[in-house]
Symmetry: D2
Subunit: 380 residues, 4 copies
């Protein structure tokens, strides 16, 4: 690792931690890469909390004004880990400052903003990626490889859902540091941008573009107290969203997300059915991929539970970790994305999903929300 990549991190929440962990650990697990990430500076307004975060993760310095961060010459790449309503302004400014950008998902508050962000990075010619991390769970990457190999044949169906249960209690507040995801001003939307966006990114990656959608949205709890002001406010986000869609390849899609599915913590699942085979995956057992191959002998045909932990080259990313049978966790999806981003600096190839890729997901999200409002089918 002969070159350094100096990271400026904006934000220190849950995603700030997962990304920092990724930067810190990649040198241990991907020592063959040219670039080594250096945690140069962390940035946020709350200086005390920021300093604690910086100390814990080993950032060399802190900044309390993100515009100052962008001015620093010793920052190569900016990582944007703040609420969704700040992505656009920061990313555009960062691009203008010539910084590479690693931006949390969803890309933007809406397609219009997202388009400006894409324009900015393309004009600036800076490397960019969006943290749709689930692409790089090894089992999900293996699904991609199987699909791309043609083993499934013509695709008929794709279904995905992302089920949580943490907002059922009406006493959960909205807004503020811990619960900004429930505040439409900060988050833009509810489960659509937070959870379905993941499902859509994976779906497009695995199964191609989505043509049109018909959605249903619901807000079960109509009012919540704001975490900072203590005042009761109308809830502006979608608590639940489901949609039907058609893909460009002719297959049918079915997506659902909610934070009111009692018993599910973060159950992201997808399934894809093709002419010759099918695949299933779920985040609660992320190290497994279920695969059905119709070509198997009829008497012994059955869904195969693939334990995606082999390290001899069979299973993506796993040769960087332990030995067969020993699983990695959620956080390693971020390590893998950091590694792939560093690799892309060597090769000059983009590290997907780029801003442009993420804009496609944004377009689907916008169409879904529009359909949720008027009940009609919307083209993407």
């Amino acid at each position: 690792m002969s070159k350094t990549l100096n990271i400026g991190m904006i934000g220190y929440g849950f995603m700030g931690r997962t990304h920092s962990n990724g930067y810190n650990r990649v040198p241990n697990f991907f020592p063959e890469l040219e670039y080594k990430p250096v945690l140069k500076a962390a940035c946020a307004r709350n200086k005390e909390a920021l300093q604690e975060f910086a100390d814990t993760w080993g950032y060399e310095s802190i900044e309390t004004d993100w515009r100052e961060l962008l001015k620093r010459d010793d920052i190569d790449a900016v990582d944007i880990c703040v609420p969704n309503n700040l992505h656009g302004e920061m990313a555009i400014a960062a691009a203008e400052a010539g910084k590479m950008i690693l931006c949390e998902k969803p890309l933007a508050m809406d397609v219009a903003e997202g388009q400006k962000m894409v324009d900015a990075v393309e004009k600036a010619g800076v490397a960019n990626t969006v943290w749709y991390n689930y692409r790089r769970i090894p089992a999900v990457t293996l699904a991609k490889q199987i699909i791309d190999s043609g083993k499934l044949g013509q695709i008929f169906h794709y279904r995905a859902n992302f089920l949580q249960d943490w907002t059922i209690n009406a006493d959960v507040p909205q807004g503020g540091a811990g619960t900004w995801r429930l505040d439409s001003a900060a988050a833009g939307s509810g489960v659509t941008g937070d959870l379905l966006a993941h499902c859509i990114d994976t779906a497009i990656w695995l199964n191609g573009s989505i043509s049109n959608v018909s959605a249903m949205t619901e807000t079960f709890v109509k009012e919540r107290v704001h975490a900072e002001t203590g005042e009761k406010q109308a809830v502006g986000i979608d608590d639940a969203c489901a949609f039907l869609c058609r893909f460009g390849n002719g297959s049918l899609g079915l997506f659902e997300s909610t934070r009111y599915a009692r018993g599910h913590k973060a159950l992201y699942t997808f399934e894809i059915n093709g002419e010759h085979g099918s695949l299933k995956w779920d985040l609660h057992d992320l190290h497994r991929l279920d695969y059905f191959e119709y070509a198997d002998e009829a008497a012994t045909r059955g869904w195969r539970s693939i334990h995606v932990t082999d390290n001899g080259g069979e299973h993506p990313y796993m040769d960087h970790y332990w030995v067969p049978g020993l699983q990695i966790g959620y956080e390693h999806s971020f390590l893998n994305q950091v590694a792939d981003f560093l690799k892309s600096l060597e090769t000059g190839e983009p590290c997907g999903p780029t801003f442009a890729d993420a804009l496609e997901t944004q377009k689907v999200c916008d169409a879904v929300l529009a359909s949720g409002n008027d009940g009609g089918w919307h083209d993407v």
Copy 2:
């Protein structure tokens, strides 16, 4: 079993077998009932095949004209196991002849016909039931008991699907004895009437009425050879159908069915999420019910896999069968329905789903098909 109930069976296909097995075995497992079914006559046009069926299952006589069957005084109840397009005419005539009716699902070709059937049985005052047999899988009945007990609290979500894969091959013919389900003239619709109707019946039973729907339908294979004529014909049925809906209780529903989901033979699954708990079931492991109870201690809370085989009164119907741990199968849902029908003759209470209940399912099916055609939301 001091009284007899003389059965006249019309049809001898797959459902003719499951029902016959039900009638034959109920006396062994429910000896406390007053009524004992007697297989008095089997009826169909193909005399040779009918005689073989009658011999195998022990029917005392055969008829080749169903109108003759209805004239016989020694027939108490008529069981209609023929393609959907014949249900209406037969059932109305049977009601007029004063026969009790056990009719295969779906009730009718459409709501208009179904309404006439309901009118006929109500006018005649004859006992009637429709074979939505899955209500009486013990695990499903247990789900009903849990929901009715209020243990789940307010319901937020209901989702169900019925996935098969037997028509992917474009060489499968349509029409004729074995494949009439692919022929719209005989079946009325494809997966909607065949499979989703089951899902809808269970859903209404467990979660109440469905208010409105938005659907998507698809026919993947556009032409098939007719099994009898050998001629290529346009396929008129829906190969796949998915729909969003809202229930009367405010919960959201998501339903899907297809015969193009490679790897699934007859995977009927449902899940219901409430404020205090959730339930999941699938037909491929029909003797299990998954249950999540939020009131459990936090550290040891988890989805419970209930092995629905206890015979001490805990699990519905199971005290009629074996001992804990020993599962019954698909066919027992029909035994249980026969037993409940016989019991209803003792008590005078209807044996649900009645024709009137099944008409509600028909209304949802019609709305789904209409929505599949025009893409809009349809009230039920």
Copy 3:
């Protein structure tokens, strides 16, 4: 079914019900067989209970003295469903009377008695079989076919257990009609003869002879009240038993059974590991077989969950039942054994496990109990 086989049933307990159900239903599901079983007579000492049993299952007559039953010319085959201590006397007398014999397992109280029974049936030349019914669960039969095909290669390991939890409560009595299995005078042994005998029969069938064993037995509850006398007695049976063994083919075996495994109702499981593949099965989901094939491509290799419900000839026995995806239950293992017994009368081939086969299992059981007593390795 042009010929009849007149059955004389001795006993009316749990097994009397499963066998009667088998005889009753085989004509419906295996109509191609020459022989049709006829429930000619049921026999037991308790006349009132016997009459009720006979009425429920359709026996034409009853006998209260089994010796009288054996004298009847209209009885072709005797089915012995009484406590273990009565098997020997009845079976030997039945053989001497020239009756075919279908005997509940375990064959005998010990090897010496079992040998006499084998001698008797062989001398008499009468058809005989022992109800080790689990061989005929379709998934278990499929395991046999896979093993016999050579797909597993050299076998290294076999492990099985049979776990229950119904006697943990010290208030459960022993002796009497419902709990004779806890009474050593009636049962001979505890879990060894009741449960491990099943595991051993399957193991020998699948993996060949067992050479020697080393066992451990335990009686957790030392005294129980007798169900009939109400007096407290020492418990003479083994509540739990585990043993190590070596098979004739060089593989290692591990077996365990108990009635003190909280949470397991009747969890009979086995697994076999070979050079090229492995198989797993459990009774709580009896319609599935798990199979691992090392020859599968490395990236997509995984345990296959085979849903053993196909009816096109792929899965044993299933072409006699329903359609793919629809499971049969525990009781069908008895139907299948009745069908195979009837078939054996056509072909003249024995219907395994014969008395001679069951004697091999008895030898292992005796060696296990001897080893449990003295702690040493015992040759079988």
Copy 4:
């Protein structure tokens, strides 16, 4: 983290990596601890490979002679990650040098050597621990908490196995860096010390002492080529080992390990059955714990699948990681052990398993191997 703990690592293999990762990451996840580990020096004979390892993991210096490492004043603790036959000499010397010791398992080649190691650390009064890391998988620690709470009541059964399949191919060599575990001179034993030792450590921790054992061992492949010399040698290790045992609390134990169980990569499973409940766990899905509670209402009782990922204090260690539903991996057991070791330096309490604890496991291993040789029961 105001104090440093300077680590001297001996060895750079698989375990050297897992431990190094633990030291590196604890400051990120357990920032509240007083002590911060510093990777001061790595030590091994192969200088080139060592330097690469040191660079990858961030060791400040290297040593090629472990005795030199022990002389350095800037080393506080020595981590022994070398083949088993070197543990004793190094640990005793390290204790004499006043170093804390973190030693890979198994403790020693045999009880005699292990006793000397225990004597040495106790005489020197140095902190010591052995890397039986599975105690600190959160699901396993939760099992310990449940058992200690008394929720299971009297224990009847404990069973564990550790199944692998990587040595089935007779071409796998023995000896050398990658395969020393197959060389009895380096490893002492085969699966007994490598795999069963883990099972035994967990079992004693969860269920108390083991009193006596009866074992069976086997070596399936009798000769292998030595990895370094290329010469064919007799295989001296046990390829497979199974044993029966009795615990001090009266419960029965059953253990098995093999490297010939096709389809299992590293399937460590245990199950414990008590009067009021049971627990099951397996390493292939290490983030789940299955729990059965008999006190649950009869109708809805079932095995609970606990997803051990809650971070609000419910699930051990998890408040240091992510959010509910997001699993950690195998490697985190080492992080947790490092954290607990650092904590023990604050409190002065030992960090189990200590050398003395590990000696108990060694005693069981020795008794198992002795029993495998002579076939008799051996007291521990």
